[in-house]
């Protein structure tokens, strides 16, 4: 009787889950909640993206706001999503610190924050000297800091040493959709890191997200690429798949690039 040899499909390198500040996540895509047409579109796109972490902004509550309109935290409840308050729009150390402290109070002591201290309105590049100072103070105040930074490997390492729980280099300017402008730096940051590295900002299309993941990033955070697409819900679904595909491609290990062809059919046995 012929022995049927069991087919063993070689497994890709075992993936480790994404862990941020001690919490495990299955999804490696994080989304912002701005720029959507309305709350319903925000909800649908967030669901289509399959995300577990959503970033939100903190703003003044003004008289005359429609009290019957659903609020963001009713549409995206903290029981269902990990809420990541951000310091978007902060250009000074003090504004960033105040925003984080208000966010912690708003979310009942929740300590995870996304720190960004911006340099100027034209580029929205991070102000690194202020970002370093803010990170240090927030870590001392027991915040779990996910920090937006540029793609400088030395600064990324400093931010890790300060005690940030994740370092999030930009791929390109916020909202630019230019994609991964310096893959070599992103790769170097990933190689050196002991905390999760997430590309934050600059993604334009699903292929950009896949490239970020193929470079070995632990995740990607985006907002405009989804919210600004012609069909945000469809783009959210595309981004989900791109992040998953990029991760698998990274784990599977790509072939080396070569200048010349290498045939995939055997040369032996040809009849011509």
């Amino acid at each position: 009787m012929a022995q049927i040899k069991e087919q063993v499909v070689p497994l890709a390198a075992e993936d480790k889950p994404l862990v941020i500040a001690g919490k495990t996540y299955r999804s490696r895509l994080l989304t912002g909640t701005g720029k959507y047409r309305d709350m319903e579109q925000t909800r649908l796109a967030t669901e289509a993206a399959g995300v577990e972490i959503v970033t939100i902004a903190i703003r003044r509550s003004n008289i005359g706001q429609d009290p019957d309109k659903p609020s963001l935290l009713e549409v995206l409840p903290p029981e269902k999503y990990t809420i990541l308050p951000n310091t978007a729009g902060c250009y000074t150390l003090q504004d960033a610190l105040r925003t984080c402290r208000l966010a912690r109070e708003l979310l009942d002591g929740h300590s995870l924050v996304k720190l960004e201290v911006l340099g100027d309105e034209k580029t929205l590049f991070p102000d690194i000297t202020e970002t370093l100072k803010a990170a240090e103070i927030l870590v001392k105040e027991d915040f779990d800091v996910m920090v937006y930074t540029n793609d400088d490997p030395i600064i990324a390492k400093r931010l890790e040493e300060i005690g940030c729980v994740a370092v999030m280099p930009l791929a390109a300017p916020i909202g630019s959709g230019l994609g991964i402008r310096n893959p070599y730096n992103i790769r170097t940051i990933v190689e050196n890191a002991r905390v999760p590295i997430l590309v934050d900002a600059g993604v334009g299309a699903a292929s950009d997200a896949a490239i970020a993941m193929e470079l070995g990033c632990d995740g990607v955070l985006m907002n405009t690429a989804i919210a600004g697409a012609r069909d945000p819900v469809l783009m959210a679904s595309a981004m989900k798949k791109a992040v998953e595909a990029g991760r698998e491609s990274y784990l599977a290990g790509r072939i080396p690039r070569k200048r010349y062809a290498s045939a995939s059919s055997p040369i032996e046995g040809t009849f011509f």
Binding site: G32, I56, R59, R60, Q65, L102, A103, L106, G175, L221
Partner: protein
């Protein structure tokens, strides 16, 4: 008395508490956080904390936002 609320002057009855201010804003039951003269006022103290004339008060909530710019 007059306070600065979210960067604008606001008239309030003398002796108003932080909780009274939340009612005035029509935000009863909503998830908000408050800062008075750049210090956080815990929600547990809204009922008892009496506002003073000239206080700089910020009342904030969560809105959609991602990176740098929000709606």
């Amino acid at each position: 008395m007059e306070i600065m609320l979210n960067g604008k002057t606001q008239q309030l009855a003398d002796g108003s508490t932080a909780a009274d201010l939340v009612v005035t804003l029509g935000l009863t039951g909503k998830r908000v956080a408050m800062e008075i003269n750049q210090e956080i006022l815990p929600r547990s103290q809204f009922q008892t904390h009496v506002l003073q004339p000239g206080d700089q008060v910020e009342v904030v909530h969560a809105i959609g936002g991602g990176l740098a710019k929000s709606l």
